[in-house]
């Protein structure tokens, strides 16, 4: 009995020993500097798998002692420790103990360093949720940086995962550049040399230093996305998002950068060059083959080409069953009854539709497209019945046609998702000299407004006005006139955020007019933009042509009843006068100050001196 027990124990020990051998082989870590061709040096299967997935801790010399110690300290209860630390982190956040939260997260992440979602979630927590809890913008910026810093810690642990660098791109780009405090954040970032040095091991500060404009976070974001791109293209990292979105982000950063710069600085040649660069990158994006989750590969600028191909294939299919399409189209058309408004939308060219109209048109076209597919299938069926010898050709054509139609639909949808056409258009428009000049004028006007220099400063010489310095009102009008010309050439810019920015400026212009006691000019250069927006239901709080006309009529009535003499309306007569300079309307004169003479000391500078 005893010997049996002894034998059993020996067997157990031998089995345990035997199992340890494969276990040690599987788990053996690689040694640093291991050659790729040496299986022994590459470590066991687990180490190789970690290596192939870009997880760290595969090599003895690369093991992070802090992380390993933390894992060891949890005594095999890593899951429990993680849960407790997550609960602690949530509690720290609830009781606003943010210092402690940071420490808890640092401990937590050491235990689960290869769980990318944890890095993403907690970095977002720091940069977005906690930063906004602070009243002071400097503290908020400080916590935005903490999130970015936290996220960079995940790169080393997840070397083949683009989600970390993607998020870094989003945090450095959007969090800093789209926040309410973006001006302050951008200012702080520009001067934050310590932070730039801290991240120098990832991105060289020179790479996002735009010289005269300083370090730019949008450009840094561009580099983070570039790292993501390199991970996927050069290191075969698994892409976690669709090509459309993945490749869209990088070129968008240059555009964002230049738009932010135009808000802060006077546009110049360098800004034009950035626009050109943004345009070039967007064009490259348009040419890039993008594969979606259904395996359909398209290029965004291939709409026309694909359309032509559809047309060509359809004609070829029609040749196999002459007259069938007309027959089926009539049949199908009878099923579709578009309302008058839908028909109007469909008749309108796509670049003249509003966003809502485009969405409606897309929905209607989708129905038609489905019907078209149905027709193609029915034509094939007709060929099958009437000319079975052509069936093979017909099937090939049908398959090609269906695939191309799908591509067409994908391009159309993806163009909408990425707003491809608008941005291509915008890039082109913005990189023109005339648009740069319009930006310059708008910037000058804003600066003059900031300095409260509203009116022109002039001198009377021989009865003629000699402008010494132009005021914000004049420069604004000049700028709006320049924008009007830009809109004439690039009509589509009337939509989107550029128009919104201009409307903001128009509102500021209106405020200045009110301060200066001046009426809104009847020949305002961008009046059509205001009218269109009002027609589309946007409430910009700016006077429409209709309102201006009503106001003028009321004023004329009032003045004719109060001042029957003919010369009574001389002060507001300028409202009707055509602009002497076609490219830049004359500034409206201050009410009651039209004939005012400058004081004797008219050489005085400043807004209050000469009018």
């Amino acid at each position: 009995m005893n010997s049996k027990s002894f034998i059993r124990k020996v067997i157990y020990i031998v089995l345990i020993g035997a199992l340890l051998i494969p276990l040690s082989l599987v788990s053996r870590p690689a040694t640093i500097g291991a050659g790729a061709d040496s299986a022994g040096q590459q470590g066991g299967k687990l180490a190789q798998l970690r290596e192939s997935y870009g997880l760290s801790q595969t090599r003895v010399a690369e093991i992070d002692p802090t992380s390993e110690t933390m894992k060891l300290l949890s005594l095999g209860l890593r899951g429990v420790a993680v849960n407790l630390l997550w609960l602690q982190a949530m509690e720290d956040k609830r009781v606003e103990n943010y210092d402690q939260l940071e420490s808890t997260l640092n401990a937590l992440i050491k235990i689960q360093p290869n769980f990318v979602k944890v890095w993403e979630y907690q970095a977002h927590n720091l940069s977005y949720n906690i930063s906004m809890e602070f009243d002071d913008f400097e503290s908020r910026y400080h916590w935005v940086k903490k999130g970015i810093r936290f996220l960079t810690g995940g790169i080393g642990y997840n070397r083949k995962d683009h989600r970390i660098t993607d998020n870094l791109g989003m945090f450095t780009g959007m969090k800093i550049g789209n926040a309410d405090e973006k001006r302050q954040y951008r200012r702080l970032f520009r001067k934050d040399t310590e932070f730039h040095d801290e991240l120098a091991s990832f991105i060289e500060p020179d790479a996002y230093d735009t010289r005269q404009f300083g370090h730019d976070h949008w450009l840094m974001a561009w580099h983070w996305y570039d790292k993501s791109r390199a991970l996927v293209e050069e290191m075969s990292a698994k892409p976690y998002i669709s090509d459309l979105i993945f490749y869209m982000k990088q070129p968008a950063q240059k555009r964002n950068q230049v738009m932010a710069l135009q808000q802060e600085f006077r546009s110049d040649e360098q800004i034009k060059q950035i626009w050109l660069s943004a345009r070039e990158e967007w064009e490259q994006y348009g040419k890039r083959p993008l594969r979606n989750s259904q395996g359909v590969e398209v290029t965004l600028n291939g709409l026309a080409e694909t359309n032509e191909k559809v047309q060509r294939l359809r004609d070829q299919l029609d040749e196999l069953a002459p007259g069938a399409r007309a027959e089926f189209v009539n049949e199908v058309r009878s099923k579709f009854t578009f309302s008058e408004s839908d028909q109007l939308i469909l008749d309108k060219p796509s670049d003249q539709r509003t966003d809502e109209e485009n969405a409606r048109a897309r929905s209607l076209l989708s129905q038609i497209s489905n019907a078209s597919e149905e027709i193609d299938v029915r034509i094939f069926q007709r060929v099958e019945k009437t000319a079975p010898e052509k069936m093979t050709d017909a099937r090939d054509l049908l398959n090609q046609l269906l695939l191309t139609r799908q591509q067409l639909f994908t391009i159309d949808r993806d163009q909408g998702t990425s707003n491809f056409v608008y941005w291509a258009f915008r890039n082109e428009a913005e990189s023109q000299d005339q648009t740069i000049a319009a930006h310059q004028k708008l910037f000058d006007a804003t600066e003059l407004q900031r300095k409260s220099l509203f009116d022109d400063e002039y001198q009377l010489e021989n009865g003629e006005k000699k402008i010494l310095r132009r005021g914000a009102i004049t420069v604004y009008l000049d700028a709006f006139a320049a924008w009007s010309k830009v809109f004439d050439d690039f009509g589509r810019l009337r939509e989107g955020d550029l128009a919104d920015t201009l409307v903001d400026k128009m509102v500021q212009f209106e405020d200045i007019l009110k301060i200066a006691g001046t009426r809104w000019p009847m020949d305002f250069p961008l009046q059509t933009v205001i009218d269109e927006r009002a027609k589309n239901g946007l409430e910009d709080d700016l006077p429409t042509t209709e309102e201006l006309e009503e106001e003028r009529s009321a004023r004329e009535e009032s003045s004719s009843s109060n001042q029957p003499s003919e010369g009574g309306d001389q002060h507001s007569g300028h409202d009707h006068a055509p602009s002497p300079q076609p490219e830049a309307p004359q500034p409206p004169e201050t009410e009651g100050s039209g004939g005012q003479q400058p004081p004797a000391d008219s050489n005085d500078k400043g807004d209050g001196g000469v009018r």
């Binding site: 002692p65 009781v95 640092n106 002071d136 001067k191 934050d192």
Partner: protein, 666 residues
């Protein structure tokens, strides 16, 4: 620092004695009852009476006959035995290793590294010392019994009280020595870890500074500079942070005292109006500390070198003079204990609003009443330091570059408002610094009004904070805090605003923090010894762990045992879970519901009573005081020590009876 429980030893003592008494009576009744049951099982019901009476009757002779000499002998023996087990050595070795490699976890560059360091050493010490205390106490007696070495003791004329108490004393004594060593090493670890020096970037003189643009008033980093700064420089990065260094113009009124630190004065000049302007170099705080500046000057009096000293501000033990009461008033002026709820998840702070467009002059305010505002409590009675940690809630962004503005006003609290005048200071505005401890100097001379009971002003001018404002018998002073920005809110709790009295000694505060751990050790060792008198060692360890867990989660368990808990008790909650009824849905009345509610009441009461078998360990944990740099007040310390001694006493008696009834001890 968050303080939810303002301990007052003398206010606590009567209720504590009452609870202790109740626990004692309950313990006696239960002890006698179970003792009788066990005796009845062993000796029969009639014999059991005699056995119980004999054991109970033997208690008093044993207690009064306890010899300190024998107790110390047992204690000595316990120490030797514990040392032989090497548990203590291993504990110390683990702690030493943890300190050696602890720096890895300290995350240099966090906002307040001192908190991390102190937290780490306290947490580590607490964990290890309690674990060690539990092991040596729970294994000692069962192992002695198992190895029969106990016979060498019980065959001597030693009383059971002496065995139990001697062991507790021995283990606690050993733990105390170990704790002292750990405390000393921890102190050195914290001190060494936080010590660092900076140098200026560039030359080590004023040429390293750059001028501040008067238009933007922005620092080199694009942020704010001090209001009176004229030049700015920065230090190099050390310990993961840097400081901005400024040359400031410190203007003082005629007769005002000179700056305390004269080593950092670059120059001084007297203005025609009698004011003195000192140009001083200061280091702005970062990561919870600053550095003293000393200047070397050449023979012409020009600054030849700027020297930055070691870190100061880490090792502090602030003594806060908290308000005795905090009352909020809403925008109508009606008093309210909790203030406005702005919808934050954490309801620790109440809020006051700054009015809105409809009601621009909101009457909302927070009134704090301080007692004992006397000059002897403060280091510099001429300039009191008011510290605040206010919360801000914005309903709209407003001016992003400006922080929300609050105001302060002081008022006397006359004993009889109908006959005595009230002193009311002028309102002073301040910019809030949310989540930071904000320091506001309050001069002893406050400009304000002396207002008669009928509302007429008797006198305007400067009044003395101590002699005029806080002159009544209780030296009471009222402080009023308002929010001065429309549509914005200021939040505060009672512990958020305090006058900073003379600081405590840091090392002494450190000792007090460790006294808290010592109190926990005393309870754990007592538990271990008491349980090991009637349980085997592993069971005694598990029992002690359970008691420790109960002790650390007392608050949570009591929250669970709230009678009005949403969703009902455990059975009702389980029922709701399986029937997919959410917590707000009313259950249908009937027998089933009544039964569930009754069973829940019983279970909840049992759960609640469970919390009394172990002390609330959080009341003996002072780590947050040390972490945030506050002095542990004597009331709190007294409460902790008394709780631990009380439990030690009760557990000693329990251990005595259990040992007495065991065959071995007879």
């Amino acid at each position: 620092m968050v303080v939810e429980n303002f301990e007052n030893f003398f206010a606590w003592l009567p209720s504590a004695l009452y609870v202790f008494g109740l626990l004692g009576v309950a313990g006696i009744v239960l002890g006698v009852f179970f003792g009788y049951l066990v005796a009845a099982f062993r000796h029969g019901p009639f014999e059991a009476f005699y056995v119980v009476a004999q054991v109970v009757g033997g208690f008093f002779p044993d207690v009064f006959g306890t010899s300190p000499r024998r107790v110390f002998a047992i204690a000595k023996l316990s120490v030797k035995e514990a040392l032989r087990r090497k548990v203590v050595l291993v504990t110390f070795a683990v702690f030493a290793i943890a300190l050696l490699f602890g720096g890895w976890f300290m995350n240099a560059g966090v906002d307040n590294p001192d908190r991390n360091y102190v937290n780490f050493v306290l947490w580590g010490t607490q964990l290890l010392i309690l674990f060690m205390g539990m092991l040596i106490s729970a294994f000692s007696l069962p192992d002695d019994i198992k190895n029969r070495t106990i016979y060498t003791v019980v065959t001597k004329p030693v009383r059971a009280t002496e065995i139990v108490f001697g062991r507790i004393l021995g283990f606690v004594g050993l733990g105390t020595v170990l704790l002292a060593l750990m405390g000393l090493l921890s102190f050195l670890f914290v001190w060494r870890g936080l010590s660092h020096n900076h140098q200026l970037v560039g030359n080590q003189d004023l040429s390293a500074f750059s001028e501040i643009d008067p238009n933007t008033r922005q620092s080199l980093s694009g942020g704010r500079v001090s209001e009176n700064a004229i030049l700015e420089g920065r230090t190099n990065i050390a310990s993961g942070h840097l400081h901005s260094v400024e040359l400031i113009e410190d203007t003082r009124l005629p007769g005002a005292p000179e700056p305390e630190n004269k080593e950092n004065i670059v120059s001084s000049k007297v203005l025609p109006d009698g004011k003195t302007v000192y140009q001083r170099v200061i280091v702005n705080p970062a990561s919870g500390h600053t550095h003293e500046v000393t200047l070397d000057k050449d023979s012409a009096g020009n600054v030849s070198r700027i020297n930055l000293g070691p870190a100061t501000g880490y090792f502090r033990a602030r003594v806060p003079a908290y308000a005795n009461s905090l009352v909020f008033f809403d925008s109508d002026g009606s008093p309210n204990q909790r203030g406005i709820d702005v919808g934050r998840e954490w309801s620790y702070r109440g809020y006051v609003d700054g009015g809105n467009a409809i009601r621009p002059n909101s009457l909302a305010k927070a009134e704090l009443v301080f007692d004992n505002i006397t000059p002897d409590r403060f280091e510099n009675p001429d300039l009191l330091i008011l510290e605040m940690t206010l919360s801000v809630f914005r309903t709209y962004k407003g001016d992003i570059e400006k922080r929300v503005i609050g105001s302060l006003q002081f008022e006397s609290v006359p004993a009889d408002p109908n006959t005595e005048p009230v002193f009311r200071s002028e309102v002073s505005l301040f910019e809030t610094e949310e989540y930071n401890v904000q320091t506001i100097p309050v001069p002893r001379k406050l400009t304000g009004k002396m207002i008669n009971p009928d509302g007429t002003i008797q006198r305007e001018g400067d009044f003395d904070l101590f002699k005029d404002f806080a002159k009544d018998g209780l030296h009471r002073l009222k402080m009023i805090i308002r929010c001065e920005d429309r549509n914005q809110y200021l939040g505060l709790a009672r512990a958020d605003v305090y006058f900073r009295a003379t600081d405590d000694l840091y090392w002494w505060n450190f000792v007090k923090g460790y006294l808290g751990i010592w109190a926990q050790l005393l309870v754990v060792v007592s538990m271990g010894v008491a349980l090991s008198t009637f349980l085997s060692a592993p069971v005694a360890v598990i029992g002690t762990i359970v008691l420790i867990l109960v002790g650390f989660t007392t608050t949570f368990i009591r929250q669970l045992a709230q009678p009005d808990a949403s969703g009902g008790g455990p059975i009702e909650s389980f029922w709701r879970l399986i029937t997919q009824k959410n917590m707000e849905v009313d259950l249908e009345p009937g027998l089933q519901r009544t039964l569930m509610e009754q069973a829940d009441t019983l279970l909840v009461n049992l759960l609640n009573s469970l919390t009394y078998i172990a002390p609330d360990f959080r009341r003996m944990n002072f780590s947050s005081f040390l972490t945030y740099g506050y002095s542990v007040d004597s009331s709190r310390l007294g409460v902790a020590l008394l709780i631990s001694i009380g439990f030690c006493l009760g557990l000693t008696i329990l251990g005595y009876f259990c040992l007495k009834t065991r065959e071995i001890a007879k």
